[in-house]
């Protein structure tokens, strides 16, 4: 799910940028400037959905804005609108689940998404409560607690929105990778079941990637 990473970067950097993407045989661009995406409501929503499912994505900073429309949709609004009623193909779902798997323990920030008609605001609020209660959010748990297929779609949309908008962030400020190595080794030695299971998710992700490309 590279497109999520790029969208997030674009929004967080707060600098003018252009995102070029290819979906199927179509190549298109989405411009970002001053906290918003360029274009009409419908246009931006559709482009964002295409970007979620894009085959390739690239971000160009320092783009040429000369022939861009004057209309701009504020990022939270645009994301909320793109995700409204959005459901996934099995391929996109599998990709989103693979992406989720890679997320570290997280903090969740509170943001007035209801102001932007975010349809899944209730689920987002509950996710935030879960974070407050535990002091950490494991996105993997959050997604797997879904009660049914519909609920899973909602939770995945909340993951997408909060990730792209920077409302979730690593609990350990992103530095946990190397700093926890010794601890991890000790843990691996004592809990024999930890290792093979951790490998299983990575195996499944690799198979998902391969099958998508068939």
């Amino acid at each position: 799910m590279n497109s999520l990473v790029y969208l997030r970067r674009m929004i967080i950097n707060q600098k003018p940028a252009r995102l070029d993407y290819t979906k199927g045989s179509e190549t298109n661009s989405l411009y970002y400037e001053r906290a918003g995406f360029e274009g009409s409501y419908a246009d931006v929503s559709q482009k964002l959905r295409d970007i979620f499912e894009a085959d390739s994505v690239e971000v160009v900073t320092d783009p040429d804005f000369s022939n861009v429309s004057s209309q701009r949709i504020f990022a939270p609004q645009a994301i909320a609108s793109a995700l409204a009623g959005y459901s996934f193909t099995p391929a996109t779902r599998a990709e989103l689940l693979s992406f989720t798997m890679r997320l570290p323990p997280l903090i969740v920030r509170l943001y007035p998404m209801q102001r932007y008609s975010f349809q899944d605001n209730g689920a987002y609020m509950k996710m935030h409560m879960q974070f407050q209660h535990n002091g950490v959010l494991r996105m993997q748990n959050y997604i797997s607690q879904a009660e049914n297929t519909r609920d899973e779609v909602v939770r995945l949309r909340v993951m997408m929105a909060t990730y792209i908008l920077g409302l979730i962030a690593p609990l350990n400020g992103g530095a946990q990778g190397s700093s926890q190595k010794p601890q991890e080794t000790a843990k691996a030695a004592t809990t024999s079941s930890a290792q093979p299971k951790a490998k299983k998710t990575s195996i499944l992700s690799r198979i998902i990637n391969r099958i998508r490309g068939l």
Binding site: R93, M101, A146, P170, E184, T191, L204
Partner: protein, 193 residues
Amino acid sequence: MTESKQIVKLVITGPVNAGKTTMVQNLSDSQVAATDVAATDSVSQLKAMTTVGLDFGILKIDDTLEMHLFGTPGQSRFNFMWKILSKGAIGAIFLVDSTCDESMLEMKKMFLYFSEHVDLPVVVGATKQDLPGAKTPDEIAAFLELGDTMVIPVDARDKESGKMLTLTLLGNALVEAQADEDYDDDYDTEDLF
């Protein structure tokens, strides 16, 4: 290379004529050199089984991982095979011919055995939805008393359709694997945040 390869299995099962052979073919690499195939303990066991109509295909995932696809004979009398097949399997796909009552009845028996004896992620693919008299996925789910198991329309002849069914299973498997994973907090998040 061959020595270090890891192998996982995908089992495609269901009654006769449901589309198993077709689907295994569609999802497998068309040409696999015999020397490139990693040896498994089960290969010799499965050789014996091919005499009873087992489909076998290989999908190379990457340099260190291979997926072996097994299409198993569609009769409940071959239920014993699960013992061998489920070892190292990532999941099971049941195919059922949506137009055939006999197929449904056999499927019900097979699935009952499966749900009592095998603990694997599973989805049901309802084939031949394009043919007259096909039962809907909902009707099939109700008839088979599948509970939470998903029933998804699939055309075994269509590669994309088979991919979608498989990706649904893999997605479910991933959710299950994540749910009981022990966190080691070794996340490679550099490119994510």
